[in-house]
């Protein structure tokens, strides 16, 4: 007799446990306004990344097309993946001294792991992390970027 | 047991082993032929009872390959680092401890795979990660022109 009662009680307990689970899913079924899906390409304009988001390395230029990069190569040394290449050139400045300045700051986005070490170690804060997150390209060469814009020069007052 | 007691006990029990206090934990270096018996002793001795092999790692030195055992006792909560050197780099052979701690079986597979130490009496020594075409990558003289780009 006792085993029969247990048998029936077990069935009811089992059904009850199933109903509790169904209650949870039903709660979400009937509250569709809580849905978490975002319609991505449509809501592109409303998407704001956090200001510290590490999307890609960029070199900010001011309105005079000037940047802060001295071409010291510390970022290149600190990059664990070799995704930064600094090509510098020698110029002769007004005082007649030979000076090495940056020619091309090459950034291989495809090799970057976004570890932030280059930005962190940059002595003149010339490179920062950008907010762009849509890094899909049709070919690999477009993932190699030159960060300093053509014709740009170094800002006044940046120490070597 | 405190570290001092542990060092004292071990140095009296195994006078020819090098016992010293390392940076964090007591360290003991045992000869490769006595290693297995020593490990057995570490586990079975009730005052030490090192029953938990935390980590087993191989290090390639110029003259020999070292296997480092990090041992902990779950009853006494003390920690010991045991080092065993192979005779030389060419015949890198050590006794297995997988009969003492089953977890060592797979750590030793890994060490065999990456450093090329052959563990005798190991039940199932095999390359764990890499296939047969590879050398032993964690050895310092390993060179791979295909996969490794050096700057």
């Amino acid at each position: 007799m006792k085993s029969t009662i247990n048998y029936i009680a077990e069935i009811f307990r089992a059904i009850w446990s199933l109903l509790t689970g169904m209650k949870v899913t039903a709660k979400y079924f009937f509250t569709p306004w809580n849905n978490v899906t975002q319609q991505y390409p449509e809501n592109r304009d409303t998407l704001v990344m956090f200001d510290r988001f590490r999307g890609e390395v960029i070199m900010p230029h001011n309105e005079n097309n000037e940047h802060k990069c001295t071409g010291c190569g510390i970022c290149e040394i600190n990059c664990p993946n070799g995704s930064i290449e600094i090509i510098s050139k020698s110029i002769v400045n007004e005082e007649g001294k030979k000076k090495r300045i940056i020619d091309q700051h090459i950034y291989h986005l495809a090799m970057c792991t976004f570890c932030n070490l280059c930005v962190k170690t940059c002595p003149s804060e010339a490179i920062v992390m950008g907010q762009k997150f849509e890094h899909a390209y049709w070919n690999r060469t477009s993932m190699t970027k030159v960060l300093n814009q053509p014709g740009s020069k170094i800002m006044e007052g940046i120490k070597e | 047991m405190t570290n001092e007691q542990l060092i004292e006990k071990l140095s009296s029990a195994y006078p020819d082993a090098v016992v010293k206090q390392g940076n964090q934990y007591p360290e003991i270096t045992v000869a490769h032929d006595k290693m297995h018996a020593f490990m057995q002793y570490l586990k079975s001795d009730s005052t030490m009872a090192f029953d938990y092999l935390v980590c087993e790692s191989g290090v390639d030195y110029p003259a020999f390959i070292q296997v480092v055992y990090h041992l902990e006792s779950t009853t006494h909560q003390h920690f010991l680092v045991v080092k065993a050197n192979t005779e030389n780099r060419e015949t890198a052979v050590l006794d297995t401890v997988s009969d003492i701690w089953p977890t060592a079986e797979f750590h030793e597979d890994e060490i065999f795979d990456l450093l090329g130490i052959t563990f005798t009496n190991h039940p199932h020594l095999r390359r764990l990660f890499l296939d047969e075409t590879w050398g032993f990558p964690l050895r310092k003289d390993f060179h791979d022109d295909i996969h490794v780009v050096e700057r």
Binding site: G21, F53 | V81
Partner: protein
């Protein structure tokens, strides 16, 4: 009358056959290959074959400087990225005898626990999916998103955080950090009981996991099974408790210990750990002391000659970093003791004579992350 011969099941044994579960199998969560020997549905032998995602991190570290190593550890156990980062940082700080500011300790511990929560949430939803409850998968990911947003706001990355640096943390916490974490805790305290309602209490789930894949305490110790998996067997192995680091010495928390060591216990223990993590964060979040976020380190970090070992508790168990330094700017040898590696290889021991569906349940409750195993 003809004699009736009674045939036992042993005598009508059929042939065993091999099934490759993986490297691309839905339940192995990555590229793990299990060579399963089956008789009908009964598992007779499981042989894990790893190495499909072996990336040679230990070899790579030998060519990198110490700060550069840290970002590689993100990619091992990607669900416990911050704990891995912290382990390397602590090891370096220990070697250099650097005392990090109190603020750093608090921030790191909060991050640890948030990361643990995120890891357990993903484990919860993924193992729900393994057991066939697909809806759980989305609920878990939904809640994990909140934590990832908190991470992203403070350190700019969601998964591969690379937040700890030798001597401190990379950024100060975001001004919104505390309020967001508190809001998350409040919200998650409400949704966590739903996890129990949906699966833990469910009769089908309990039948699937109770008594399945029992790992005894002795075996757990012998196989070096740590983390929630080991603690479910009663193996007290919480590094946070036994060898406290960062801010863990300052706080009160329980090390949850199980007794049964079956799949259900492993499940229950992780659920309990989520509650405990919430408690830990609550103790810390309002008390973050003011101060620097990093000690000034040398431009080129060189460790003194010697060997250094640091253990931390990740979402999966005990993570160890063993650094052998020869005094140069690159380490001589780095070994990562990953929890998943030791945990995985017990699977043959405990999945024997269970059904193939139980093997999936056991793997689900082991919470394996394959890059953690392969490194």
């Amino acid at each position: 009358m003809a004699e009736i011969k009674i045939i036992t099941t042993d005598e009508i044994k059929t042939d065993e056959y091999l099934v490759n579960m993986g490297p691309q199998h839905p339940s192995t969560h990555g590229v793990l290959r299990l060579l399963v020997k089956l008789e009908g549905e009964i598992v007779h032998n499981v042989e894990p074959h790893v190495g499909y995602i072996h990336s040679g991190i230990e070899k790579m570290t030998e060519a990198l400087s110490y700060p550069q190593i840290i970002h590689l550890t993100d990619r091992m156990d990607y669900l416990s990225a911050h704990m891995n980062n912290e382990a390397v940082c602590l090891c370096i700080e220990n070697a250099l005898q650097v005392e990090v500011p109190e603020r750093v300790k608090y921030i790191r511990t909060i991050f640890d626990e948030l990361q643990r929560l995120a890891s357990h949430q993903l484990w919860w939803c993924a193992s729900g999916m393994d057991l066939g409850a697909l809806t759980a998968f989305f609920y878990g990911l939904r809640d994990r998103e909140d934590i990832l947003d908190i991470f992203e706001e403070t350190c700019g990355a969601r998964l591969t955080l690379n937040y700890s640096v030798p001597g401190g943390v990379m950024f100060d916490i975001h001004p919104n950090f505390q309020s967001k974490v508190k809001a998350f805790i409040k919200k998650f305290r409400k949704t966590l009981p739903e996890y129990d309602k949906l699966l833990t209490g469910n009769i089908i789930f309990q039948n699937r996991t109770k008594g399945v894949g029992v790992l005894s305490k002795e075996d757990a110790i012998a196989f070096g099974v740590t983390g929630p998996t080991g603690r479910a067997s009663g193996f007290s192995c919480d590094v946070r408790k036994h060898h406290p680091y960062s801010a863990y010495p300052y706080i009160k928390f329980d090390e949850k210990l199980g007794t049964d060591g079956d799949s259900f216990m492993r499940w229950k223990l992780r659920m309990d750990e989520m509650w405990e993590s919430l408690n830990i964060i609550e103790q810390l979040i309002d008390n973050i002391p003011e101060g620097d976020i990093a000690v000034k380190m040398k431009g080129v970090i060189k460790l003194p000659e010697g060997e250094f070992y640091q253990r931390v508790e990740t979402g999966r168990g005990e993570f160890g970093v063993y650094i052998v330094s020869d005094g140069k700017k690159n380490p001589y040898r780095v070994k990562f003791r990953s929890p998943g590696f030791s945990n995985l290889f017990t699977i043959n021991h405990i999945a024997k004579n269970w059904k193939i569906a139980d093997l999936v349940a056991i793997m689900a409750t082991f919470d394996l992350v394959i890059p953690d195993i392969d490194r």
